[in-house]
């Protein structure tokens, strides 16, 4: 049988090992959390690459194409803001899932480029972070998978509560509404939304 260690020494070592393990666990947890956070923008960027590919294919074939086999949303259009160098693929359906990969056309809004109001939403800290730099007069171009191209001019930006927003029911021309959360640098989720309203420019 092995000789047992003196109790004093054991206690001392334990006393010394405890904070070390604690600090190690703390830094590990911290790195995990940071990693988890960092995955979100990485996923957002990577998804856009895949979506761009699916969009191009969808445009040439005319049929909806999923960017990856288990995707629940398909690319419906490309939105770009030439002044800010932004170009992103919009997904159908507004599930939280789809929002992680790109801006989505919110269900209930009009199809893009057609008469009525199309509402496109995306996260304020990924795809739509450019909205804080959007100015009245900026041109937003929307290209649909049908090959249609429409350009919109931003009329202005507004801060609204999520439940106090309404769209015109008798829109006679295509209107585009971009929506994201506000304020842009907030750390928590809240009821405030920032919307930019853009009207179609006559293309011809």
């Amino acid at each position: 049988m092995k000789p047992t260690q003196p109790p004093a020494a054991k206690g001392g070592r334990r006393w010394r090992a405890l904070p070390t393990a604690g600090f190690m666990a703390l830094s590990f947890a911290g790195l995990c959390l940071a990693g988890q956070g960092a995955v979100i923008p990485a996923k957002a960027v990577l998804a856009q690459v895949l979506l761009e590919r699916a969009f191009a294919k969808s445009r040439s074939t005319g049929a909806p194409v999923k960017a990856w086999p288990w995707a629940d949303a398909v690319p419906v259009a490309r939105i770009s803001v030439p002044r800010l160098g932004v170009s992103e693929i919009i997904l159908s359906g507004g599930s939280g899932e789809a929002l992680a990969f790109g801006p989505t056309l919110v269900p209930g809004s009009a199809p893009l480029g057609q008469n009525g109001t199309a509402v496109v939403a995306a996260h304020r800290d990924t795809h739509f972070s450019f909205m804080q730099h959007l100015q009245p007069g900026d041109v937003v171009v929307v290209e649909t998978t049908d090959g249609d191209r429409a350009s919109f001019r931003v009329q202005g930006g507004y801060v609204v509560r999520n439940d106090q927003f309404a769209i015109a029911s008798r829109a006679v021309a295509p209107t585009l509404v971009l929506s994201t959360c506000w304020p842009f640098d907030a750390t928590t989720q809240g009821p405030w939304r920032y919307v930019a309203i853009a009207h179609a420019q006559s293309s011809r």
Partner: protein, 711 residues
């Protein structure tokens, strides 16, 4: 009064009926189960979307802006189509499920192909199957009303328009499901070597002109759900058993995702990929033959003492280059409220494509109409570049709103300044969804004013009024083209524009050798490239041959067809009867026969062939009363979906010329509440917090190590 239905059953047929009934009930119960699940889901969804709306049974609501509320009776439809050769047999089962605690009478307005012949009605109540009988319309109505009053389950199928029917089901018990099964025969279409048929799934709300009678308007109208407020209702499942007699290739359904299973030989079974679809747009199936289509296809059927023949005769391909005729074209574009959304876009694109195709020697004009009308030019002008540019700009600025007064536009389009100019072909092209209910007036006006003009109909949208389109094209000796999707504009319009420059066969006549035959249609149309002539005939003893003759590129042409080649075709007799009925209806509209004469002909054909017509209805009545005396019967009109691509607010919210709803809508807030989704991931927060924690941990470790080194 007819004897009780059960008494009419032949005793010998009972076991067979019984077996079939068991199979029917088994099949239907599976279907009902799925319908129930679907309807529960959609009901739950509807409630979630519109928490304020209570579902009240019996009170029919047509709210101006919100549309109708989902009714207590839930409806599911199953369609089973069997295509044999060039005929399609369609079995439609509608399950009416009463979710309320009251006894209910349900009314459902639904569309059928306008050349379909409805000849069978079965009603399943609990374990009983009741077979419907054909009767004169008024008599059928009386039988039904009496059964309804006596508390017996009853079903009635009535024709409101040749492509619009209503089913009434009386005395559906609380929580009960009544199944109505109707069957119809329809021809398969063939254009440019492509075969196809169309199952209309929804009746688009129609515009009634200001002088329409109230009863007629009520019959052709049903409450419509606002798609923004409610989930789609009335799910439909579709199965197509395709047996065209040749190996079909390129089977496509342009508007629905389908699944194709290959069966023995050339048979294919086609189902919807998603199992069922809300009935908000028409289903279409097209296929091709791997072999080249023969010039003549013949089918015959012997019913009672008569022979029936169906012949498809393809015009010869004109392979030499002909100089296209010099033309005068009038484009008529519908910019009424029902066209708003996708339809207007499609119509504009179609018009612009057509304008660009004009050659400088052509003359043209553009007429637009809603409840008003404008002609772009006083009279047709030469298609110079400037004039076309002007017309293109005009087309671009068109916006859909207002009612649909098509008659003045038709009259204007038919005004011909040079009726005797044989050097110029006059063509009128209509771009519309045909959402009107005064079809009779339209056809009468066209029939009496058509002159030398040929009228081409371009049906726009997901559910155009194809009866009007086909009859106008027929009376106007033109063609009907349907565009259901923006992506189809270029292909379909190009095909039409191509055809417009080449009429192939004109002045068609048919003569029999060996016996008399009654042909339908009585007036043979002009034929354009790729379009076959469909000829139906009845004779007491059909043999020998028939000769079809006409003018091909300005020269006489004829073709002799030996009737011995004919193969058995199921349902040819019904199709002949349906076609004769159409001829009688059109004949009356064109004032060729009197109203009484037409009604008599139609009623007789309906009774002889057991077909639902405007003069005859199918009625089924349960023998045993089910509703206890004294229990109240509530009446429900089942709401319809708005056809896909239609804009609810434009149709019901915008000032419409016909009712009080519009004034109410006008004072309403013109905006719709819209919930904006949560759009923040707060990834930066977790990155910073994580890094912060890691930093604290790291610093702690450093401090510990230093302490250890010191001790």
């Amino acid at each position: 009064m007819i004897p009780p239905l059960a008494a009419r059953r032949r005793p010998g047929s009972f076991p067979r009926l019984h077996r079939r009934r068991a199979a029917l009930i088994a099949r239907l119960s599976v279907f009902v189960l799925s319908v129930m699940m679907f309807s529960f889901a959609s009901l739950a969804h509807a409630r979630q979307l519109a928490p304020g709306d209570e579902i009240t049974s019996g009170s029919l609501l047509l709210r101006a802006r919100d549309g109708a509320t989902p009714s207590a009776v839930q409806l599911g439809t199953d369609m089973d189509v069997t295509v044999t050769g060039l005929t399609a047999r369609v079995k439609v089962v509608q399950a009416f499920r009463n979710t309320s605690r009251d006894w209910v009478e349900a009314t459902y307005l639904y569309p059928l192909p306008e050349d379909g012949a409805v000849d069978s009605l079965k009603m399943v109540v609990g374990q009983r199957v009741i077979i419907g009988e054909i009767n004169r319309r008024a008599a059928a109505r009386e039988i039904y009303e009496q059964a309804k009053a006596e508390g017996r389950a009853a079903g009635l199928v009535e024709q409101q328009r040749p492509n619009m029917f209503t089913n009434r089901v009386a005395n559906i018990g609380p929580g009960e499901t009544v199944l109505i099964e109707i069957e119809y025969q329809a021809p398969v279409r063939r254009i440019s070597g492509e075969y196809g048929f169309r199952l209309p799934l929804v009746v688009g709300p129609r515009y009634a002109p200001s002088d329409a009678s109230a009863a007629d308007v009520a019959a052709t109208r049903a409450p419509v759900l606002n798609p923004r407020r409610h989930a789609d209702i009335n799910p439909v499942s579709i199965t197509v058993r395709l047996n065209p007699g040749f190996a079909p290739t390129g089977i496509v359904s342009p508007y629905h995702a389908i699944q194709i299973v290959e069966g023995a030989g050339s048979t294919r079974t086609i189902t919807l990929k998603d199992g069922s679809t809300p009935s908000n747009r028409d289903f279409e199936l097209r296929w091709r033959s791997a072999e080249t289509a023969p010039g003549v296809e013949l089918f015959r059927e012997r019913v009672r003492a008569d022979d029936y023949l169906m012949a498809l005769i393809s015009p010869p391909e004109s392979n030499r280059r002909r100089t296209p005729p010099v033309r005068e074209l009038v484009f008529v574009i519908d910019n009424s409220g029902s066209m708003s959304g996708d339809s207007m876009l499609q119509a504009k694109e179609s018009l612009k494509l057509a304008l660009r195709s004009l050659s400088p020697t052509d003359r043209f004009n553009v007429i637009r109409f809603d409840d008003t009308m404008t002609e772009l030019f006083d009279k047709p002008v030469l298609a110079t570049r400037e004039q076309i540019a002007l017309a293109l700009r005009y087309a671009d600025q068109l916006e859909a709103s207002g009612g649909t007064e098509m008659l003045p536009a038709l009259r204007a389009a038919l005004v011909d300044d040079t009726p005797h100019d044989t050097g110029r072909v006059r063509q009128v092209i209509f771009l519309t969804d045909g959402s009107i209910s005064n079809e009779d007036q339209m056809l009468a006006a066209l029939g009496s004013n058509r002159g030398r003009s040929r009228v081409f109909m371009v049906g726009i949208g997901s559910a155009p009024n194809s009866f009007l389109m086909n009859r106008m094209a027929e009376v106007g000796r033109g063609t009907y083209t349907h565009i259901g999707d923006t992506r189809e504009v270029i292909t379909r319009m190009s095909a039409l524009l191509d055809r417009l420059t080449r009429p192939v066969l004109t002045d068609l006549r048919v003569v029999t050798q060996g016996g008399d035959a009654e042909f339908a249609p009585a007036d043979l149309p002009d034929l354009y490239e790729g379009e076959p002539l469909i000829l139906l005939a009845r004779a007491s003893n059909l043999r020998g041959s028939i000769t079809v003759s006409g003018m091909l590129d300005g020269r006489p042409w004829s073709r002799r067809i030996n009737l011995n080649q004919a193969v058995e075709g199921v349902g040819v007799a019904k199709l002949w009867a349906r076609r004769r009925i159409t001829d009688a209806e059109v004949g009356h509209r064109l004032d060729q026969v009197s109203a009484e004469e037409a009604a008599q002909t139609i009623a007789q054909l309906g009774l002889d062939f057991s077909i639902v017509t405007r003069e005859t209805s199918l009625v089924a009545v349960d023998r045993t009363p089910s509703r206890p005396q004294g229990a109240r019967l509530t009446e429900e009109e089942l709401p319809l979906n708005l056809p896909a691509g239609w804009d609810f607010v434009r149709i019901f919210g915008a000032p419409a010329p016909d009712s009080a709803q519009s004034t109410e809508a006008a004072t309403d807030d013109p905006s719709i509440p819209f919930d904006l989704p949560q759009t923040a991931t707060a990834w930066a927060l977790s990155v910073w917090a994580g890094l912060g924690l890691a930093l604290i941990g790291g610093l702690g470790l450093m401090v510990m190590r230093r302490r250890r080194a010191r001790s």
